[in-house]
């Protein structure tokens, strides 16, 4: 039975306005669905409601706007359907553009930050280990829990905004220490010294999602120098093929100094040894293009590219002259773009034919000019969702292979 504080009850009863009461009804009703005994405070929220899914998306947020409601905690926004910095890139209808733009604007009127990124963990201020937060967007959730050690359940549309408006969430799921213990162990093969590490991390993530579902896994055997970008790729892929919201990388992530720490000393239900052959099989299945197939475009940056990923891209471009022989899109946040503009990297890449896309992502909205044909990516998440969303055929390879293929104008793999 859910026990509310006096303040919770006052919010529910409308003492803080109609918008807060609506938000609190949603929080308490979902608390009952989760069988939570109480609500707790969160220190920040990340909202995935900016992506337009139809009139219901707008109806919901406008209820808060018209009642003059504001978010109660610092709140960042996930991607929208439009690139507000480069609006000319949108290739959808005008009514859709207007509704999508209004949805993004309405969230700003509630006091949310104009971050429009699926990688809020790449912003300057990010949650600390142990902090209770309410984050939506599957890859952001898994990164916050796993890599930052912050605590969030899998929030999604509507509940994320309700949590931001009330500052309260059900005390359940991954907010609770005991539920963060790894119950399965994944033994990764040693791919530290291989080329194309980005592909192996994503392939391992896709395999993890398929095997773990919603269970928390501890991964052993990852390279000692595993980077945040690599953990980002792994987590995003795992949250695409499964409902993974937390994994532990033993020796790497904050709650997994040792395997014992990751499992909270509970014997695992299952241990799975993964081989390089298993990962190669994941990679083969994800790729739907033959070597030599004509390439319509390359899309990188799902989740949003970091500064270090842009630096690596520029290094790869330095091996070639002129512009790629197909469209070349990289998704990132406006904050990363501004950093790249300050360092000159944005101008340098633009001059080489790279189209940087901000505020949105190429797999959820019509931006890529030519989708009849093959689009190549190194993102497990993009490869997983894009075929159904925007009707493309996916070639899947490392960043190195993507760049090489773009300059060849056709799909090529290094092996």
């Amino acid at each position: 039975m859910l026990k509310l504080t006096e303040r919770d009850t006052a919010m529910l009863d409308g003492a803080y306005g109609d918008g807060v009461a609506l938000a609190m009804r949603i929080v308490t009703r979902t608390a009952n669905v989760m069988s939570a005994a109480q609500l707790i405070d969160v220190s920040s929220a990340h909202i995935d409601g900016c992506l337009y899914h139809g009139p219901a998306s707008l109806d919901f947020v406008e209820r808060f706007v018209t009642s003059g409601t504001r978010v109660a905690v610092p709140t960042t926004l996930n991607v929208g359907s439009l690139d507000l910095i480069h609006p000319e890139l949108f290739r959808g209808s005008d009514p859709l553009r207007r509704a999508a733009e209004r949805l993004m604007q309405a969230h700003l009127e509630l006091g949310c930050e104009a971050s429009f990124t699926c990688a809020p963990y790449q912003l300057k201020h990010r949650p600390q280990a142990g902090e209770q937060i309410a984050w939506a967007e599957s890859n952001a959730i898994v990164f916050a829990n796993s890599v930052l050690g912050a605590r969030t359940s899998r929030y999604g549309d509507f509940l994320d905004l309700a949590a931001a408006v009330t500052g309260r969430v059900p005390f359940a799921g991954l907010h609770v220490t005991a539920n963060r213990a790894a119950r399965i162990v994944i033994e990764a093969p040693d791919f530290a010294a291989t080329d194309a590490r980005d592909v192996w991390f994503a392939a391992l993530g896709l395999l993890l999602g398929k095997e773990a579902g919603t269970a928390v896994a501890a991964i052993t055997g990852l390279p000692a120098d595993t980077s945040e970008d690599e953990l980002k790729a792994l987590g995003a892929a795992a949250a695409s093929s499964g409902a993974v919201a937390l994994f532990h990388a033993v020796g790497i992530t904050p709650e997994a100094r040792t395997l014992d720490a990751a499992t909270q000393r509970m014997p695992p239900l299952r241990t799975l040894r993964v081989t390089m052959d298993d990962l190669a099989e994941v990679r083969r299945r994800l790729n739907h293009a033959q070597p030599g197939a004509e390439l319509a475009a390359v899309s990188l940056g799902t989740p949003h590219f970091s500064v270090s990923e842009f630096e690596r891209l520029a290094q790869l471009f330095a091996h070639y002259a002129g512009a790629p022989r197909c469209g070349f899109y990289v998704n990132t946040s406006r904050f990363i773009l501004w950093q790249l503009e300050a360092s000159g990297l944005a101008q340098q890449l633009a001059a080489r034919g790279v189209q940087i896309v901000t505020d949105t992502c190429t797999y959820i909205t019509p931006i890529i000019k030519e989708t009849r044909g093959v689009v190549m990516t190194n993102s497990g998440k993009w490869a997983h969702y894009a075929p159904a969303n925007i009707g493309v055929t996916v070639a899947y390879g490392s960043m190195h292979e993507c760049v090489r293929s773009a300059f060849e104008g056709s799909v090529c793999f290094d092996e």
Binding site: I26, R29, L51, H53, G54, A56, S57, D59
Partner: protein
């Protein structure tokens, strides 16, 4: 908690079973058993059709049906897509799950709040779920209040 056949004091033509309420409402319709579906990317709310190519029920409509789904899957954006389908009249009349699911629950709860359309959402145990899937006749879901006991009625008379 739900023992099939445990409460058959109703007339012979109908059978009534206990279920657990996740979201209140009262509605009935033809049953449609579906494999786990992600509404986002899997359901076209304009046309009211399952569109995930690899889904066994691809091409079928949920509109007005009692949706029988063992569990949900996929993106948290599914809450929005379900709420939009309910708004648009292309969503299910009622939903019966085996495993409680937050994403589905939120879609239903928000549609109630915004449009006053009450799509009852209940969970039942695996045995009753199988019996409901096999019934092949209209089902009625009556869930009077959040968290309270609900009933699912199989209307044998319609057979």
């Amino acid at each position: 908690m739900n023992r099939p056949g445990s409460s058959s004091r109703t007339p012979r033509a109908t059978r009534e079973f206990a279920a657990h309420t996740l979201a209140a409402g009262s509605a009935g319709g033809a049953p449609l058993a579906v494999e786990p579906l992600s509404f986002w990317g899997g359901y076209d709310t304009e046309r009211g059709l399952i569109v995930e190519p690899a889904h066994p029920q691809c091409g079928l409509s949920l509109a007005g049906k009692v949706m029988l789904m063992p569990r949900a899957k996929g993106s948290s954006s599914s809450s929005s897509v379900l709420a939009e389908a309910i708004r648009n009249g292309t969503g299910p009349a009622a939903i019966v799950l085996c495993e409680a699911d937050l994403i589905v629950a939120i879609g239903v709860i928000v549609a109630q709040e915004l449009y006053s359309v009450n799509v009852p959402l209940v969970t039942v145990d695996v045995d009753l779920f199988a019996a409901l899937c096999a019934a092949g006749v209209p089902l009625y879901v009556d869930a009077p209040g959040d968290g309270a006991q609900a009933t699912v009625r199989i209307d044998q008379a319609a057979q």
